[in-house]
Subunit: 226 residues, 2 copies
DNA sequence: AATGATTGTTAATGACTTGTTAAACATCAG
DNA sequence: CTGATGTTTAACAAGTCATTAACAATCATT
C-alpha cells in the first residue's frame, strides 16, 4: 500500500509494529537509530515516517528536522512514551505532523497513517489524486471525469481546460488567460477552438446539476458549483 | 488564532467544545444544523471546519461535500460517535481530512486542529478580495455585485463604472473624469451612454437602501453610502 | 500501405449579449 | 418660462457565443 519508514529502538515494539503494518499491506523499513534512519530516508523515498523520539545516535527531533528540510510535505509521526506538552510543542517545531503516545493500539496507529497518506495525496499537486467538485470528480493523471460512477475519458485539451477552470472554481477565468495557458497564443481561431471545447465540456458536465460553465460575455468563463 | 466553524447539534458537547477552543484563542462559529453551517461557511471564510456527522437538515457528509466543492483545500474534520470503518471511508470520499471519535479529549482535538492549520498555511493560495460597501459587495475579478446573498453578474462597462464610483465613494466624480477613464473620449454620445449605465447601476443598487448614486447637475455623480 | 478511429482545428449558421443610439419625459438653474 | 441637463425605456447593429458538422492530422491495427 505504501512505503513506510519506522525508526524505533525498542526491539519488541519495533518488531510488533513492523509486523502489523506489513500485514496491512505496507512496505516497512525498520531501523533502530537516527543516523541509519536518515541514510535510509535518502535512499528509499518513504511516503511516511514513524519516528520514536528517544533514540540512540540521533534523537527523533533532530531526525525529523533534517527530513523536513529535505521534503516539505512528507508526513512525520512521532512515537513517544510521554505525552508531555513540551515534547509535543518541540515536535511541531521541528516539523512533525502528528504524535502518538505509547502504548498505542495498532488500530489507532494504522488509522493515523491512513489519514496522512490520504491527505498528502491531496496536498501534493504533482500526485495522482482526484479533484472533487459538485457530485463529480476529475482525475488529472488519468484525464478522466467521473459522475455517478460513470467514467468519461477526456482528451488532452478537454482535460487541460477542465483542470484550469477547476483551479479557479467559482471564479471567472479570462479568455486571454485560458488561450495563453492552454494554446500559448491568442488569435481568432484559437478562440473559436476554445468555444468548441467549452461546448464539449458542458456536454460531460450535463449529468451533474450542481455544475455549470457560465460565460461572461466578452470576458471569459466560470465553472460554477452550487 | 484562527477562525473555526463548528457544526454540532448536541447542545452540551457543542458548548463545551466552543468554550474550550475560544479559551485557546480561536474564533469559533457554532451552528447546530447543516444548512446553517453551509450558509455561515459562505459568509465568513473559516480556516477549518469541525463537522458532526449526524445532524438535522443536512448531514455532515453532504455538508462536507458542498464545502469541498467550493474550496479544494479547507481542512475538514469529522466528529462522530462511532468509529465504524464504513463511515470513515465515506468521510474521505466526500473530501474529509480527518476523523475524531467521541468521546475525545480537548487536548487531542486542539492538537489535531493545530496540525491542520499549520499544514494548510503552506498550501492555500491567496483568494481574490471583495470590496465591501453598505450592505453590498463588489468582486472586481469576477465582475459580480452581491446584495442579500443574490449575485448579479455585471457587464464590463457596468463593472468599470461601479468600480470607479467605488474608488471615490462618497465623493463627487466629474463626468469628464468618468468619460475619459472609461470611454477614453468625452463627446455627446458617450455622455448619453454614461447616463444609461448610471440608470442600470441604480437598478442593481436599488436592493440596498444604504446606497444612492446622486447627480450633481452639470458636474458629475457621487456614490453615497449612509 | 490501407483502414479506421481519435483528436484538434476550421467552417457555417443561428442565437444571444452588449454598448450605443434614439426618443420621450422629468428635473434643474437662471 | 425656457433651455440645458438628467432619467428612463426601448430599439438597434455589431460583436460574441453556442452548436453542429466537416476537415485534416495523427496514431494504431491490420
Amino acid at each position: 500500500m505504501a512505503k513506510l519508514l519506522l525508526a524505533e529502538d525498542d526491539e519488541n515494539l519495533g518488531f510488533m509494529v513492523q509486523d502489523n503494518l506489513k500485514d496491512l499491506g505496507h512496505e516497512v523499513l525498520w531501523t533502530k537509530n537516527g543516523e541509519e534512519a536518515l541514510a535510509l530516508y535518502h535512499n528509499v523515498k518513504p511516503s511516511l515516517c514513524l519516528i520514536d523520539v528517544m533514540m540512540p545516535k540521533m534523537d527523533g527531533f533532530e531526525l525529523a528536522r533534517k527530513m523536513r528540510s529535505h521534503d516539505e510535505f512528507i508526513p512525520i509521526l512521532f512515537l513517544t512514551a510521554k505525552s508531555i506538552e513540551e515534547d509535543r510543542l518541540k515536535g511541531f517545531e521541528v516539523g512533525g505532523d502528528d504524535y502518538i503516545t505509547k502504548p498505542f493500539s495498532m488500530k489507532e496507529l494504522s488509522y493515523r497513517i491512513d489519514v496522512f497518506l490520504r491527505r498528502n495525496e491531496r496536498t501534493k499537486p504533482s500526485d495522482a489524486s482526484k479533484i472533487l467538485f459538485g457530485k463529480s470528480s476529475y482525475d488529472p493523471s488519468n484525464i478522466t471525469y467521473e459522475i455517478n460512477d460513470t467514467f468519461h475519458s477526456l482528451t488532452q485539451m478537454e482535460g487541460k481546460l477542465l483542470e484550469l477552470l477547476l483551479a479557479h472554481r467559482n471564479n471567472l477565468v479570462k479568455r486571454e488567460v485560458i488561450l495563453e495557458k492552454i494554446w500559448g497564443e491568442n488569435d481568432y481561431f484559437k478562440g473559436r477552438s476554445l468555444d468548441v471545447f467549452i461546448t464539449r465540456l458542458r456536454k460531460y458536465l450535463k449529468g451533474d446539476d450542481t455544475l455549470e460553465i457560465k460565460n461572461h460575455h466578452g470576458v471569459g468563463f466560470c465553472l460554477q458549483i452550487k
